[in-house]
C-alpha cells in the first residue's frame, strides 16, 4: 500500500521508537498503531471514487472512527506531546495525509501559510514545544481537523466541481505517486504528530520550506495530469 522506502523506514522507526521511548510496550506500540489507523482512515475518507457518489455510510463510519481516535488522543495528552526522536522519524504516510489535508484545509480557509507541516527532522528539536503547541495549538489543531472533516462532508454532500477535482487531484497524484512526491521533497520530511501540524506554524521558516514542498507536489501533479 505504501512505497517500499516507506515501509523500511517504518520498521526502523518502530524498532528505534521502542528502544528510545521509555515506557512504550514492545512493537507494535499502541500509539503507533493508533496513529497508523488514524492516517489510514484519513486517506480512506479522501480516497473516494469520484465518478460514482461515495458511500455515505462508509464515510460516516470512518469519520466516527477518526473522531474517536482524536478524542482518545486528546484525553491521553498525546495530541500535542511528541518525543523529538519519534517525531523526527515519523512514518512518511503521515506526511501524505497531512499534506493532502493541509492543502485542502488551506484552500478552504484561504490562508497563505496556515496549517503546514514542519520541515526536516533535524529541525525538530528546535520546534517550540510549549506554548505555541500548547492549549492554543491543540485547539487550533482540532479546529483545523474538524474543518477538514467538515470539508469532506460538504464535498460529499454537494459536489462543487472545483473542490472535488482539487481533492481528487491531490489524492490521486499523492497516493499513486508517493515515490515521486516524497523524493521530490527536499528535506521536507515533516515531524510531529499528524494533526497538531494543523496548528499555525510557530516559526515562519517552516512555511517557506513547505511552500517549496508543495511546489514539488504541484509539479508532480502537473506531470501526471499532462501524461
Amino acid at each position: 500500500m505504501f512505497a517500499r522506502g516507506l515501509k523500511r523506514k517504518s520498521a526502523e522507526d518502530a524498532e528505534d521508537a521502542d528502544g528510545g521511548v521509555a515506557g512504550v510496550p514492545a512493537a507494535p506500540s499502541y500509539t503507533l498503531q493508533r496513529q497508523s489507523l488514524l492516517d489510514m482512515s484519513l486517506v480512506k475518507l479522501q480516497l473516494c471514487h469520484m465518478l460514482v457518489e461515495p458511500n455515505l455510510c462508509r464515510s460516516v463510519l470512518i469519520a466516527n472512527t477518526v473522531r474517536q481516535i482524536q478524542e482518545e488522543m486528546t484525553q491521553d495528552g498525546t495530541w500535542r506531546v511528541v518525543a523529538p526522536q519519534a517525531a523526527g522519524r515519523a512514518p512518511l504516510d503521515r506526511l501524505v495525509s497531512t499534506e493532502i489535508l493541509c492543502r485542502s484545509g488551506r484552500e478552504q480557509e484561504g490562508e497563505g501559510d496556515g496549517p503546514l507541516p514542519d520541515p526536516a527532522p533535524g529541525q525538530a528539536p528546535r520546534r517550540p514545544q510549549s506554548s505555541p503547541w500548547g492549549l492554543d495549538g491543540s485547539r487550533e489543531g482540532r479546529g483545523g481537523f474538524q474543518k477538514s472533516l467538515d470539508h469532506i462532508f460538504e464535498t460529499l454532500e454537494n459536489k462543487t466541481p472545483g473542490s472535488v477535482e482539487e481533492l481528487f487531484s491531490d489524492v490521486d497524484s499523492s497516493y499513486y505517486d508517493l515515490d515521486a512526491v516524497l523524493t521530490g521533497m527536499v528535506g521536507g520530511t515533516p515531524s510531529g504528530p499528524g494533526l497538531p501540524a494543523f496548528a499555525p506554524a510557530a516559526a515562519a521558516s517552516p512555511s517557506s520550506t513547505c511552500r517549496s514542498d508543495l511546489g514539488e507536489l504541484e509539479h508532480a501533479v502537473e506531470i501526471l495530469v499532462e501524461t
Binding site: 498503531q33 489507523l37 458511500n55 455510510c57 466516527n64 481516535i69 459536489k159
Partner: protein, 545 residues
C-alpha cells in the same frame, strides 16, 4: 394527524395519473423483449390468488406448495441443519451465458442449468448478483445484478415422470430493469446496480415486483402470453397497415394459441425522491403502500402515485457536519400496516408507529444492546453497524445482522437481544486488516426460514451459516463449484481458529475474502434456499424434502 395518501382511484381517463403513467412508462423504457429462450411449460399457469387480510396471506399461500401436512416441515434433529443434509439442486449461471448457449446450440434450458460449464469467460462484473428474493409462494425466484438486470427463475413443476426434477428452478424471464444514468447537477454517475427486489403478493395472473437502484424504484409487471389475436381488418399479418381500398370484407379477430411468451413491462417509475442512496424497500401489508429508505430518509409511497411520496423519517441534521449516524435498513411489520422498523449504523433499531405522527422521527421503541466493555476497540462502532434487519414471519421478532453476529430481538424487549449468534468470531482479531481492505464495510444480509426456527446468513470464502434456534445447533456450508456435484450432500465446513488444523478444516488465513456471500433467500414454506456467490446462484434443498 397523519393524512393518508390520496385514494388510488382515478375518475377520468386522460386526466388520471394512471393513464399518464402508462404512456410515460412506455416512453421511458421499451417493454422488455420477451425472454429469448422461453420455457415450454407443461401447461399454462393460473394460480389462485391468495386471500387478503392480515396474517392469512402466508397460510393461504402455503396451501398447494408445501408438504402434505399443510405446514412447513421444520428442521428436526435428523434432518436438521447440523447434520449436513443439504443437497445442491442446481447452480444457475449468469443470464448471458444461458441465453447465448441456448440460442446458438438449441439446448434445453434445463440441461444448461444442471450442468457445470467449464468456462466463465462471459461472466463480467455486471453479472455480480446483488439481490435475491423468493416471491410469496416460492414459485418464483428473482435476482438482480450489478448490471441492472433482473432475472426471474421459476420452479419446475411436479410431474410423475420426472420426480427428481422437482425443486429445480429455470429461467422464466430476463429484463433490463435499470440503466446507468448521469446526474448532471452533481456530475456523478448513478449506478444501475439493483439494490433490492421485493415481490408484491399475487392478485391476478400477472406477477408484480419492485426493483430499485440507488435512486429510482420501479414496479414491474411480469405476465404470460400464450394467445395472440389474428385476423385484424386494418392490419395484415405482419402488422402493416392495409390499404382501405383493398378491404372488401369484415372479419372478427380470433385468438389463436402461440408459443408461451413471458413479458415484463414497467408499470410505475418512482423517481426523484431520494437524495441519498436507497438501501431498502418494503411492501406494506396493506398492499397499497410501500416504503423506500435511503441513508437519511424514509419515504412512503402509494403504488398508484409516482409523482409524490410522503417523508416519514428524516434523520438528516441541519448541519451535515454533525452527521454521525445513518439509516442502514428498514422494513414494514408483516401484519401491522402502521408499524415499521429501521436500523442504524450505530447498531440501534427503532420501531415506529405511523399512527403516532406524520413524521416518525420519534420512535415508539428503541432497541439497543449495551456495549461490552471488554470487547471495546476502535472498530466497535463499525462492527456494530447493522447491515440488515428482518421481521420474523410471525411478526414477533426482528433479526439484525452486524459484522460479526446475528441477533434476534423480541419486540417486547428493547434493552437487549434474546439471542446472539456468532457468525465468524475468528475475524475479531483481524479487524484492522479487514478495515484496511474495506471488507469490514461489507453488508451481509440475513433470512428467516418459513417457520422462524432457523436463520441463515453469509460469510467469506463462499461460506454461509445456518443457526437452528430451537436446537441451538449451527452449520457452515460452502457454495462453490469445486465442492458440489448436483444432488450430492453438502459437507459441513469448519474454520480452524488456532492450534492444530485438522484435515478438513480451513485456517483463517486461507480464507478468500473476495468470495463473500452477501445475499441469500429462503423459500417461504419449504426448505429450499438460494445462495448468491458472485455471479452464481446456488439452490440447495433439504434432502428429506
Amino acid at each position: 394527524m397523519h393524512q393518508p395518501p390520496p385514494a388510488s382511484s382515478c375518475s377520468s381517463g386522460s386526466g388520471c395519473e394512471c393513464a399518464r403513467v402508462g404512456v410515460r412508462a412506455s416512453a421511458l423504457a421499451p417493454a422488455a423483449a420477451p425472454c429469448p429462450a422461453p420455457r415450454r411449460l407443461p401447461h399454462p399457469r393460473r394460480p389462485e390468488p391468495p386471500s387478503r387480510g392480515t396474517g392469512t396471506l402466508l397460510r393461504a399461500g402455503l396451501g398447494p406448495w408445501c408438504s402434505p401436512t399443510g405446514s412447513p416441515a421444520p428442521l428436526s434433529c435428523e434432518t436438521g441443519c447440523g447434520e449436513g443434509s443439504w443437497i445442491l439442486v442446481c447452480r444457475l449461471l449468469v443470464p448471458t451465458q444461458v441465453s447465448l448457449l441456448s440460442m446458438e446450440e438449441d439446448i434445453d434450458t434445463r440441461k444448461i442449468n444442471n450442468s457445470f460449464l467449464r468456462d466463465h469467460s462471459y461472466a463480467t462484473e455486471a453479472d455480480i448478483i446483488s439481490t435475491v428474493e423468493f416471491n410469496h409462494t416460492g414459485e418464483l425466484l428473482a435476482t438482480g445484478d450489478k448490471g441492472g438486470r433482473v432475472v426471474i427463475f421459476q420452479r419446475e413443476q411436479e410431474s410423475k415422470n420426472q420426480v427428481h426434477r422437482r425443486g429445480e428452478y429455470n429461467v422464466y424471464s430476463t429484463f433490463q430493469s435499470h440503466e446507468p444514468e448521469f446526474d448532471y447537477l452533481k456530475s456523478l454517475e448513478i449506478e444501475e446496480k439493483i439494490n433490492k427486489i421485493r415481490w408484491l403478493p399475487q392478485q391476478n395472473a400477472a406477477y408484480f415486483l419492485l426493483s430499485t437502484n440507488d435512486k429510482t424504484v420501479k414496479l414491474w409487471k411480469v405476465s404470460e402470453r400464450d394467445k395472440r389475436p389474428e385476423g385484424y381488418n386494418l392490419k395484415d399479418e405482419e402488422g402493416r397497415l392495409r390499404d382501405p381500398a383493398t378491404i372488401t370484407t369484415l372479419r372478427v379477430p380470433v385468438l389463436r394459441p402461440m408459443d408461451l411468451m413471458v413479458e415484463a413491462t414497467p408499470r410505475r417509475v418512482f423517481a426523484n425522491a431520494h437524495t441519498y442512496h436507497i438501501n431498502s424497500i418494503s411492501v406494506n401489508s396493506d398492499y397499497e403502500t410501500y416504503m423506500s429508505a435511503d441513508d437519511l430518509r424514509i419515504n412512503l409511497w402509494n403504488f398508484e402515485i409516482t409523482n409524490q411520496s410522503f417523508n416519514i423519517v428524516d434523520i438528516k441534521p441541519a448541519n451535515m457536519e454533525e452527521l454521525t449516524e445513518v439509516i442502514t435498513a428498514a422494513e414494514f411489520h408483516p401484519h401491522h400496516c402502521n408499524t415499521f422498523v429501521y436500523s442504524s449504523s450505530k447498531g440501534t433499531i427503532r420501531l415506529c408507529d405511523m399512527r403516532a405522527s406524520a413524521l416518525c422521527d420519534r420512535h415508539t421503541k428503541f432497541f439497543e444492546e449495551p456495549e461490552d466493555p471488554s470487547n471495546r476497540s476502535f472498530f466497535s462502532e463499525i462492527i456494530s453497524s447493522i447491515s440488515d434487519v428482518k421481521f420474523s414471519h410471525s411478526g414477533r421478532y426482528i433479526m439484525t445482522r452486524d459484522y460479526l453476529t446475528v441477533k434476534v430481538w423480541d419486540l417486547n424487549m428493547e434493552n437487549r437481544p434474546i439471542e446472539t449468534y456468532q457468525v465468524h468470531d475468528y475475524l475479531r482479531s483481524k479487524l484492522c486488516s479487514l478495515y484496511e481492505n474495506d471488507c469490514i464495510f461489507d453488508k451481509f444480509e440475513c433470512v428467516w426460514n418459513g417457520s422462524d426456527s432457523v436463520i441463515m446468513t453469509g460469510s467469506y470464502n463462499n461460506f454461509f451459516r445456518m443457526f437452528d434456534r430451537n436446537t441451538k445447533r449451527d452449520v457452515t456450508l460452502e457454495a462453490s463449484r469445486e465442492n458440489s456435484k448436483p444432488r450430492a450432500i453438502l459437507k459441513p465446513r469448519k474454520v480452524c481458529v488456532g492450534g492444530k488444523r485438522r484435515k478438513d478444516e480451513i485456517s483463517v488465513d486461507s480464507l478468500d475474502f473476495s468470495k463473500k456471500i452477501l445475499h441469500t433467500a429462503w423459500h417461504p414454506s419449504e426448505n429450499i434456499i438460494a445462495v448468491a456467490a458472485t455471479n452464481n446462484l446456488y439452490i440447495f434443498q433439504d434432502k428429506v424434502n
